[in-house]
C-alpha cells in the first residue's frame, strides 16, 4: 500500500473509523462536538482512501484542530481566553504538547480558510481532488477491463473501436475494451510517479541548495559547477537517451532519474534565497540570541521559503508528468497498462486519431492529462496563500 495510489478498501474504511475515534473522544472531552464529528469524518475518509498511511497522519491533524478550538493559553492572559486566576507561567510537558498541537491546528484552520478564499486556486483544488477521488474511489465502481473482447464487434464494423454509447460512456478501444475503465485506472501510476519525481527533485534541490549556501567555499563551488553542467544539457533529450539506456524495473527508478536531471534550477533558487535570508535582521537576531541551528532553520528560515518550495514542487510534478508521458509517447519506456500515456501511444499506432469513432481512445487520456495539469497550475495559487500568510492579509 503506497500512500495515495491505493484503491479504496473496506479494511481501510474500518481503520479510518477507528482512527477517527481519537479526535472524536478528545472533542467530547472538551465539549466541541462539531469539530470532533468533522475530524471523525476526515479520518474515516482518508483511512478509506489510503489505509494506515491516510488515517494515522489525519489523527494528528484533526486532533490538533479539535484542541485548537478548546485550548486556553495560560501563559498569555492578554490575547487568550484565560481568566486572570488561571495565569501560570510554569508549563508542564502535557501543556507544552497541547500548545504545540493547538498551534498546528490553528495553522491548519487558517490554511483551509486560505484555500477557500482564492477562487482560481479553489477550482484547481477541486480539480486535483476530482482526480484523486477518481483514482482512489473510481476502481470501486468501475472494474478494470483488461482483456480483449472480440465478441463486442459491431456487425457492420471492421474494427473493435466503438463510439461512446450508453453502455460504454467513452466507447471501446482497439481491443474492444472499455475506455472509461482505462481512464479511471490509468491515472494512478502516472500521477504517483510524477508526484514522486517532483518530491524527489524538491528534496535534492533543497538539501543541496541549503548546503551550498550554508557551507559555502568548495562545497558551494562544486555543487554550483555541477548544476551548471546539468543545465547545459536540455533535459528532455537526455532523459530520452537515458531512459532507453536503462531498463526500468519500477516507476521509482524513472522518478529518481527524472529527479537527478532536474534539480539544478530549483537548487540555484534555493541557494540564492538562503543566502539572502541569512542576511536578514531577524535571522541575525536569532543567531545573536543563540537559538540553535534547528530553531533557526525550522522557525526562521524555512517558513519564509516554504511557499516558494511548495509551488516549485508542484511545478516539478507537472514537468515530470509531461516528460513521463512524452517518454511513453515516443515508446522509450516499457509500456504498462493501464496508463494514460500508453493509451495515447497505442491509440496513435492503431490509427485511432484518424476516425471520429475511435478518437476517444486518445482524446480521453489527453483531456485527462490537460485537465490535471491545469488543475495543478491553478491549485498553486491557493497553495501560495496557504503557505505564505503575508499574501493573505491583502485580501
Amino acid at each position: 500500500m503506497i500512500g495515495f495510489a491505493t484503491i479504496a478498501t473496506v479494511p481501510g474504511l474500518l481503520i479510518g473509523m477507528v482512527c477517527g475515534l481519537i479526535p472524536l473522544g478528545i472533542a467530547l472531552y472538551y465539549r466541541q462536538l462539531r469539530p470532533g464529528l468533522l475530524g471523525w469524518l476526515a479520518c474515516a475518509f482518508s483511512g478509506f482512501a489510503c489505509g494506515f498511511l491516510g488515517g494515522v497522519p489525519m489523527i494528528v491533524l484533526t486532533t490538533a484542530v479539535v484542541i485548537s478550538y478548546a485550548y486556553v493559553n495560560k501563559q498569555d492572559p492578554f490575547t487568550s481566553r484565560a481568566a486572570l486566576a488561571e495565569v501560570n507561567f510554569e508549563e508542564t510537558r502535557l501543556e507544552l504538547l497541547l500548545r504545540l498541537l493547538a498551534g498546528l491546528g490553528n495553522s491548519v484552520r487558517a490554511g483551509l480558510v486560505a484555500l477557500l478564499r482564492n477562487k482560481a486556486g479553489f477550482i484547481g483544488f477541486l480539480g486535483v481532488l476530482f482526480f484523486f477521488l477518481m483514482s482512489v474511489f473510481g476502481p470501486l465502481l468501475i472494474p478494470y477491463d483488461g482483456r480483449p473482447h472480440p465478441d463486442r464487434r459491431l456487425p457492420e464494423s471492421r474494427t473493435l473501436f466503438q463510439a461512446p454509447s450508453a453502455q460504454f460512456p467513452l466507447g471501446l478501444d482497439w481491443q474492444g475494451r472499455d475506455i472509461l475503465s482505462h481512464v479511471v485506472h490509468g491515472g494512478q501510476g502516472l500521477i504517483l510517479t510524477a508526484g514522486l519525481a517532483g518530491v524527489l527533485t524538491t528534496i535534492i534541490a533543497v538539501v543541496l541548495g541549503a548546503l551550498a549556501a550554508l557551507l559555502g567555499g568548495v562545497v558551494d563551488q562544486v555543487f554550483s559547477a555541477f548544476s551548471n553542467f546539468i543545465l547545459t544539457i536540455p533535459q528532455f533529450p537526455l532523459l530520452l537517451v537515458l531512459a532507453s539506456v536503462l531498463t526500468f524495473e519500477s516507476n521509482v527508478a524513472l522518478a529518481l532519474l527524472f529527479a537527478l536531471l532536474s534539480w539544478p534550477t530549483l537548487m540555484r533558487a534555493v541557494r540564492a534565497q538562503v543566502l539572502s535570508l541569512r542576511e536578514r535582521d531577524y535571522v541575525e537576531a536569532a543567531i545573536a540570541l543563540d537559538l540553535g541551528l534547528w530553531h533557526i532553520t525550522l522557525r526562521e528560515v524555512l517558513p519564509n521559503m516554504i511557499s516558494y518550495i511548495v509551488v516549485n514542487m508542484i511545478f516539478s510534478i507537472r514537468v515530470a508528468m509531461y516528460s513521463i508521458v512524452g517518454l511513453v509517447f515516443l515508446g522509450m519506456v516499457p509500456l504498462r497498462e493501464p496508463d494514460w500515456g500508453v493509451m495515447i501511444f497505442v491509440g496513435r499506432q492503431q490509427g485511432a486519431l484518424s476516425n471520429s469513432i475511435s478518437v476517444w481512445m486518445v482524446l480521453a487520456p489527453v483531456l485527462a492529462i490537460a485537465l490535471f495539469q491545469l488543475s495543478l497550475v491553478m491549485f498553486t495559487r491557493s497553495l501560495e496563500e496557504v503557505f505564505n500568510p503575508r499574501l493573505r492579509s491583502g485580501l
Binding site: P234, P237, V325, V377
Partner: protein, 319 residues
C-alpha cells in the same frame, strides 16, 4: 559534454550490430562468425574494439569536423545534421519569434490596462495555455481541427514539404513550406505565448513604477511614444535574455512535436536514432544541442550589454 554523451551512448544495451547479427542468423541460417563478418561489412563498425580506441578516434575526427557515418544508413552524420537542422531552426525559430513578438505586445498592453476586461481575459488565457503540455495541444489540434471538424487538411499538412515539389527560391515552394510548418509553428506559438505574456506583464508593471516613466508622462509625451520608447524598451530587457537562452533549447524541445507532425527536423530524427540505436547520429545531434545551448548563453550575455546602456556604462566605470 562530448565525452559524456559518447560514454552514455555506447553503454546502451542492444546495439544495432548484435541485433543485425541475430537477425542474419535467424533469417539466413548463418553461423555466428559468418553473420558477424557480414554485419561488420554492412555497418562499417567493429563493436569488439576497445572503447578507449573508439573514443580517441572519434575525438580526433571531431576536431577535423568529421562526425563519422551513420551506423544504419552509412551516410555521413554531418550531411544528415545539415539536412535536418534547417527544418528545426525554421519551424521552432519562427514559432519562437511570433510568440515572442505577440507576447511582449499583449503583455505590455495587459500591464498598461491592468484590471480591465482585456487584462483579465488574457491572464486567464495565458494561465490555461501555460498549464497544458505542448503535445496535448498538438493532439487536440489534430483531433479537433483536423479530424472532427475537418477545418485543416491535416493529412496533407504532415511532413516538411509536399513530396515531389522542387526546392528553390520560388513563391510556391515558400508557400508550401509555410503550409507544412503551420501545425508545428502554431503549436509552439500557442504553448509559449502564455509564458511570454505573463513575464512581459510583470516586467512592464515594475517598469511603470520607475521615476523616468513619471517624468516622461509629466513632459506630456504621447501615449504611443510612452509605450514604445519608454515602457516597452525597458520592460523588454529581461525578456530578450530569456529569448536568447530559449534559442538554445530550440533543438531539444521539439522531439515530440516533430514526431507527431512527422516534421523532418532534428528532434524527430533523434527519436528515430534512439529507437534504432544509431550511435553516431545520436552523438551528432547531441553535439548540436550542446553547442547551441552554450552559444545562446554567450549570445544572451552579449545581447544584454548591447541593449541596456546601463550595463555597458557600468562596466566602463568599473574598468
Amino acid at each position: 559534454m562530448t565525452t559524456f554523451t559518447f560514454i552514455l551512448i555506447r553503454q546502451m544495451p542492444g546495439n544495432p550490430f548484435s541485433i543485425k547479427v541475430e537477425q542474419l542468423m535467424r533469417e539466413q541460417n548463418l553461423t555466428v562468425e559468418e553473420a558477424t563478418n557480414r554485419a561488420g561489412a554492412l555497418f562499417d563498425f567493429d563493436p569488439n574494439r576497445p572503447l578507449l580506441e573508439q573514443y580517441t578516434e572519434y575525438m580526433g575526427k571531431l576536431l577535423r569536423g568529421d562526425l563519422g557515418k551513420s551506423i544504419i544508413s552509412s551516410e555521413p552524420v554531418m550531411n544528415m545534421l545539415l539536412r535536418f537542422l534547417p527544418w528545426t531552426l525554421f519551424s521552432v525559430g519562427l514559432g519562437l519569434l511570433i510568440s515572442f513578438g505577440l507576447g511582449i505586445l499583449i503583455g505590455m498592453l495587459m500591464a498598461y490596462w491592468r484590471g480591465s476586461l482585456f487584462d483579465n481575459v488574457m491572464t486567464a488565457f495565458a494561465s490555461v495555455m501555460y498549464g497544458i503540455p505542448d503535445y496535448v495541444i498538438a493532439l487536440l489540434l489534430i483531433i479537433v481541427a483536423g479530424v472532427q471538424l475537418r477545418i485543416l487538411p491535416f493529412a496533407q499538412m504532415l511532413g516538411g514539404s509536399t513530396p515531389g515539389i522542387e526546392p528553390g527560391f520560388r513563391l510556391d515552394y515558400i508557400l508550401d513550406l509555410l503550409f507544412h510548418a503551420f501545425l508545428p509553428v502554431f503549436t509552439y506559438v500557442i504553448t509559449s505565448l502564455g509564458g511570454w505574456m505573463l513575464t512581459m506583464k510583470s516586467s512592464t508593471m515594475s517598469t511603470l513604477g520607475e521615476d523616468y516613466i513619471t517624468v516622461a508622462r509629466a513632459r506630456g509625451l504621447s501615449q504611443r511614444r510612452l509605450l514604445t520608447a519608454y515602457i516597452g524598451r525597458n520592460a523588454m530587457l529581461p525578456l530578450v535574455t530569456r529569448l536568447a537562452i530559449s534559442v538554445g533549447f530550440i533543438v531539444g524541445g521539439a522531439v515530440i512535436i516533430e514526431t507527431l507532425y512527422q516534421y523532418p527536423g532534428l528532434g524527430r530524427n533523434l527519436a528515430t536514432a534512439i529507437l534504432v540505436r544509431d550511435y553516431t547520429v545520436m552523438q551528432g545531434i547531441f553535439l548540436v544541442i550542446a553547442i547551441s545551448v552554450v552559444f545562446s548563453n554567450i549570445l544572451a550575455d552579449l545581447l544584454f550589454g548591447l541593449l541596456d546602456p546601463r550595463v555597458r556604462l557600468g562596466k566602463e566605470d568599473a574598468s
